[in-house]
């Protein structure tokens, strides 16, 4: 960074990518450290429980840190800080939904799921149902959510590369996406869940520490006074509205309803995200699962409080127009703030953390998708649970991980530059519609039957995806994925407000209207297992 003082947009745009070698060097150190951790982890990865669930040997606090690593994606780190810097208060609203959602996981899902299942979400959903159809449905839903989430992460990588490495042409960006994807496949293949968990832990510590240092730095500049910081953000933005709600969602009645719909999907979606649910199997018992969520809530809450300061800090110190003019737009707020505060070194650190974030989140999604295919579809549906050689199942999981990894690289390259921001919202909406109703009904409603589960899962998935396809997010608006076409008839970009209640209703109707009766003995067994932890899978010993 040859120009420490920044005055104009274009100049900053250069400095943001001004020391790509430094940025890459720091990222290289991260890769080296995590690779060592992954190789160490691979020594103990032999059985299916090792590969899928890290031998259930992580402590609650370790898993809690890993969960925050999995959950705090690039979208929530760069995206929320940027949204606050540009849209002010409305950006802050996201983080509240993302945090409060964890109470659903804490109170209703985490412990009961840990006690009942072994490796995947489908283990729990199919426990007292007809195995094959429910497993297939749960697996399709798992793969869909993981795929949408994965594509969103990879598509964001292109903009990040332009911003942080100064690579503007598509070929160069595609090569970097492929390298990041290949690294991720390597992590998952070598380290399995244990290696992936260590990557999440290292990344979460770096991310939260980096954001924490920046937060204190910003606050110190304003005498540790939040009110002065807000005042400075107002002065720099030239509008007081940055402190008030409505800048982004208050435009019309439709945008307000859209936001309400998003808020519902965020708060109910988290506890239905398969890659989050799978993390609860990496601890030895339900008490540690409870402790995991407790740690996750503290860390995620703390982190979102940091992003509030960072967002308004970026608005005050970097300035709204400069952020919008930089490559990467809104996402550049946090990196630009880092450059302003600590120069190239802090920028390099934050850039490396941003790449690490994509790497870690994608690795978590890949292992979830591969576990669901190998364990649910291959071992339990195709081989009908009669697979003698457990190694074969792990082999299939590894092959699936490579396939998922390649698909995500190709998808990331194809989606690079496309407006696919709706994919994260879609993943949450599908998780809240197709997964959460079935999870809650299976755990708490005795009468719930196979037909109800199938109606709710397929119905939830189908309705959510259909509404998105015919929404302004895909066609018929300037910000759509296909701005040139117009086949939209559903007015909202976030389908949750319609799809979530309908999915609950479908689960109810499917149960009361069909003739199939629940297996009462299995329900009793499931309830005793879920609440007491009797017969739950123990940690493997090495």
């Amino acid at each position: 960074m040859t120009h420490p003082t920044t005055t104009t947009g274009p100049l900053l745009a250069q400095t943001a990518g001004g020391s790509p070698y430094l940025n890459m060097g720091i990222f290289g150190i991260f890769v080296l450290i995590t690779m060592i951790a992954v190789f160490r982890a691979s020594r103990n990865t032999r059985t299916a429980a090792d590969y899928y669930a890290a031998g259930r040997a992580f402590s609650g606090s370790q898993n809690g840190v890993a969960i925050s690593g999995d959950y705090l994606s690039a979208a929530s780190f760069l995206g929320i800080a940027g949204a606050i810097a540009v849209h002010g208060y409305d950006g802050f609203l996201y983080s509240i939904g993302f945090l409060v959602a964890w109470l659903v996981a804490l109170l209703l899902v985490a412990e009961l799921l840990r006690n009942t299942g072994r490796y995947t979400m489908a283990d729990v959903l199919s426990f007292r149902m007809r195995q094959r159809p429910v497993r297939v449905a749960a697996s399709i839903s798992t793969l869909s959510v993981s795929f949408f989430y994965l594509l969103a992460q990879m598509a964001g990588a292109g903009g990040l590369i332009a911003l942080l490495l100064g690579i503007q042409d598509r070929v160069g960006q595609s090569i970097v996406i492929a390298v990041v994807g290949a690294l991720m496949i390597l992590y998952v293949l070598i380290g399995g869940m244990r290696g992936t968990t260590w990557v999440q832990i290292i990344k979460a510590v770096l991310l939260i520490a980096g954001a924490g240092v920046m937060t204190l730095w910003v606050l110190a500049m304003y005498g540790m006074n939040l009110s002065s910081l807000l005042g400075a953000a107002v002065d720099a933005s030239g509008t007081e509205e940055i402190l008030n709600p409505g800048l982004q969602y208050g435009i019309s009645e439709l945008t307000r309803l859209d936001f309400l719909s998003l808020a519902i999907a965020l708060v109910l979606g988290t506890a239905g995200l398969p890659h989050i649910l799978m993390r609860f199997y990496t601890v030895p018992n339900s008490k540690e699962a409870r402790r995991s969520v407790q740690w996750a809530i503290w860390l995620i809450g703390l982190f979102y409080l940091f992003t509030l300061v960072l967002g308004y800090g970026a608005a005050a110190i970097v300035g709204r127009d400069t952020i919008l003019d930089a490559p990467g737009g809104v996402n550049s707020a946090a990196p630009l703030l880092a450059a302003e505060l600590g120069g190239p070194l802090l920028l390099g650190f934050i850039a490396a953390v941003a790449f690490a974030t994509i790497l870690a989140v994608v690795a978590g999604l890949t292992i979830t998708a591969s576990a669901s295919f190998a364990h649910d579809i291959y071992a339990n549906v195709i081989k009908r649970g009669k697979l003698d050689d457990k190694q074969q199942e792990v082999r299939v999981a590894r092959i699936t991980a490579v396939v998922v990894g390649l698909v995500s690289i190709l998808g990331g390259i194809a989606a690079n530059g496309q407006n696919v921001a709706f994919l994260v919202a879609l993943a949450f909406a599908v998780a809240a519609s197709a997964n959460l109703p079935t999870i809650l009904y299976s755990l708490f409603w005795k009468r719930f039957s196979t037909t109800g589960a199938l109606w709710s899962m397929y119905g939830g998935l189908g309705i959510t995806v259909t509404l998105i396809i015919f929404s302004p997010a895909v066609s018929g608006s300037e910000t759509a994925m296909f701005p040139g076409a117009d086949f939209a008839w559903f007015p909202l970009s976030n389908p949750g407000i319609v799809s979530i209640p309908l999915s609950f209703l479908l689960g109810y109707l499917g149960t009361v209207l069909s003739k199939d009766r629940p297996d009462e003995a299995k329900f009793r067994e499931m309830e005793v297992r879920a609440l007491s932890g009797a017969g739950a899978e123990k940690a493997t010993e090495h």
Partner: protein, 114 residues
């Protein structure tokens, strides 16, 4: 999980049935449900109320309370506080009121395995 008992000769359906009817388990389920259902209702209502206020009552939320900190920001930070508070309360409740009963039920089932 298959529909047949696991290979390690896990507890029989009768064992599960008896555990399910045991006073310890009935009390465990009652305690869990009387805590988590009302609490979930409470925090979801409070969250929705906050979202609707932020979404529709811009004037109210823009009222300054402390310096530049307005009511909207204050209520938003209060969402963090209530989330942390519910977490702490639930952990205490689960450690003291749920875990001992869960352990009793678990021992009953797993001890019966021989």
């Amino acid at each position: 999980m298959s529909t047949t008992p696991p290979d390690d000769g896990g507890p029989s359906p009768t064992t599960w049935h008896e555990a399910h009817e045991s006073p310890d388990f009935v009390e465990l389920r009652r305690r869990l449900r009387t805590f988590v259902f009302p609490t979930t209702g409470l925090f979801l209502t409070w969250y929705l109320l906050y979202v609707i206020l932020a979404d529709y009552a811009h004037g109210l939320m823009s009222i300054r309370v402390l310096g530049n900190v307005n009511l909207g920001l204050l209520l938003g930070l209060l969402q963090f506080v209530t989330t942390f508070l519910i977490t702490v309360l639930y952990i205490r409740f689960a450690n003291r009121r749920l875990d001992p009963l869960a352990e009793a039920v678990r021992e009953r089932v797993e001890g019966g395995r021989g």
